[in-house]
């Protein structure tokens, strides 16, 4: 964020200011050290930790379109689920290598995202919500109806993934799964970071801030939106593929509306347009679900509902946004 006391009124100072926007902050570095904590202190929770990393990658993909480009969605599980099925079906053809599996699944889903993007960039607001919702439901029902391919409500069974790098097999405790999902999340974040701090990322923020001005500066904004939507779909697909690879099965609920809604809730809890908002949101959401479901498996959504309302009312920019504002106030 801009430091109001510093004098940037020179070109060199301004260039430096722009470089600073894209630099790693101490908080980010601290976060990436903290992610190793579960290995040492919560080894029984590594499976949960890898679920969180997957949800975080999914939330990150939604942040790219919702937080940075202003595209709202209630159907992103469509891409998550397609990635999950793609990865599962790929192993059924006899190719179980996980890394290429991720790439192939991601590329396939990105392609689907690209096709869908032609519709998405033509609508806004409520129509956009309904289109994304409709496409999500459509995909779910399609997967349900094509049970010869997907296993329908029984899910896709018999997914066998080879060890990572031919060496690291999935263990019962989830050491490999968490290491793997964490590494993929990190790569996803690096990509998202580069996109956000590029000229393209600036163009997306321009679209979010004032769509109407964009044509007046000669910007082909629909093309920009198509590109980010495609990238976001691919990233969601990779997250879905990760779930398949670490759990060796695909359930129909990878495509569910619930999943589309949950990811938006995570993002809003954490704060949109900040890259880490979705990650923090995923941690809070998944840990809360785990703990609350332990107390009462039926009513845990009640508490998520309360939490969501409190956050939206008290911290409209999400938990990270709130903390950033608090920090600004303390510093002054």
């Amino acid at each position: 964020m801009a430091d109001p006391s510093a004098n940037q009124a020179t070109i060199a100072g301004t260039q430096a200011w722009i470089r600073r926007q894209g630099r790693w902050s101490p908080y980010e570095i601290a976060f990436w050290i903290a992610v190793f904590v579960p290995f040492f202190f919560f080894p029984t929770y590594l499976t949960l930790a890898s679920q969180i990393a997957i949800a975080a990658l999914f939330a990150l993909s939604v942040d790219l379109i919702l937080g940075y480009a202003g595209i709202i969605t209630l159907g992103h599980a469509m891409f998550f689920g397609l990635g999950a099925y793609a990865a599962g079906l790929l192993t059924k053809t006899g190719w179980g290598e996980p890394l290429t599996g991720l790439l192939i699944s991601g590329a396939f889903v990105a392609l689907v995202g690209f096709v869908v993007s032609f519709v998405i960039v033509r609508v806004q607001h409520l129509a956009l919500l309904m289109i994304t919702l409709g496409l999500g439901l459509l995909t779910l029902e399609l997967a349900n109806a094509m049970s010869w391919l997907t296993g329908g409500t029984d899910g896709l069974q018999g997914v066998s993934v080879w060890p990572i790098f031919g060496t690291f097999d999935y263990d019962l405790w989830g050491y490999t799964a968490y290491s793997y999902t964490l590494a993929v999340l990190f790569v996803g974040l690096l990509i998202a970071r580069r996109i956000v701090h590029s000229a393209f990322g600036l163009s997306l923020r321009g679209i979010r801030e004032n769509l109407n001005r964009m044509p007046a500066i000669g910007a082909p904004y629909q093309r920009r939106l198509q590109v980010i939507y495609t990238i976001s779909a691919g990233m969601a697909g990779v997250a879905g593929a990760l779930l398949t690879q670490t759990t060796s099965q695909v359930a129909l609920d990878v495509l569910s509306f619930q999943r589309s809604a949950d990811v938006v809730v995570m993002l809003i809890l954490g704060g949109t347009g900040r890259l880490y908002g979705g990650i923090i949101g995923a941690i809070i959401f998944m840990v809360a679900r785990d703990q609350l479901a332990g107390i009462n498996p039926q009513y845990w959504y009640f508490w998520i509902g309360i939490l969501l309302m409190i956050v939206v009312l008290v911290m409209p920019k999400g938990i990270l946004g709130f903390l950033a504002q608090l920090w600004e106030r303390i510093r002054r």
Partner: protein, 253 residues
Amino acid sequence: MSTETYALRTENLRKRFGSLEVARDVSITLPRGARHALIGPNGAGKTSLVNLITGQLPPDSGRVLLEGQDITRLNRAARVKAGLARTFQINQLFPALTPIEAITLAVTERKGTAGQFWRSLASHGDAIDEAWGILAQLRLTEVATRPTRVLAYGQQRLLEIGLALATRPKVLLLDEPAAGVPKGESAELFSVIAALPDDISVLFIEHDMSLVFKFAARIIVLVSGGVLLEAEPDVIRTDQRVRDVYLGQAHHG
């Protein structure tokens, strides 16, 4: 194309909304290096004309030519690429972006590098330098890294012009650039416009007649969607019809 002596020309532009005619056979010509003012009472269709020229409104009939090229069917962004830029009467800025970011955005869009998601923004040094140059021209360097929303209103109006300049226009349409700016500051704002290089042809809408007479080389008077008169300031000043239009408006409203 280069043999054309005009920068912008409209030919019989027509537009009606139901019974309301916002453009009645508007044919105007803007020579190269023009400093033309577009005046007229409220509801005369001044902003509608700008919208028709820039492609925000499709005309019912008629043509728009930019240095001989028919741009009537081009979309808004393509017209900007062809060299036609505008500013808005009500600020159309990017509230959370800083001025240096906003202008750099417009520069990279013009250069065609704004789609590059694999390079960091900081590596677009030439675009940032150019944006800085524009901010310097507008005396906005002091606030270059503050969010646009905290800028003083007059600074926001200047940024509005800066965004248009970043597209390197041949023709610049300014829709009430000084709208809402206190009288003392509006002359300063217009001095920035007057200092623009001659290869930019300017058409501006303005209500303050003292500014119009001071900065316009020629004046187009628009009334009820049609051109009433186009002439030098001295002619406009003494023209009875123009007086009637403005006095009439004063009487009735």
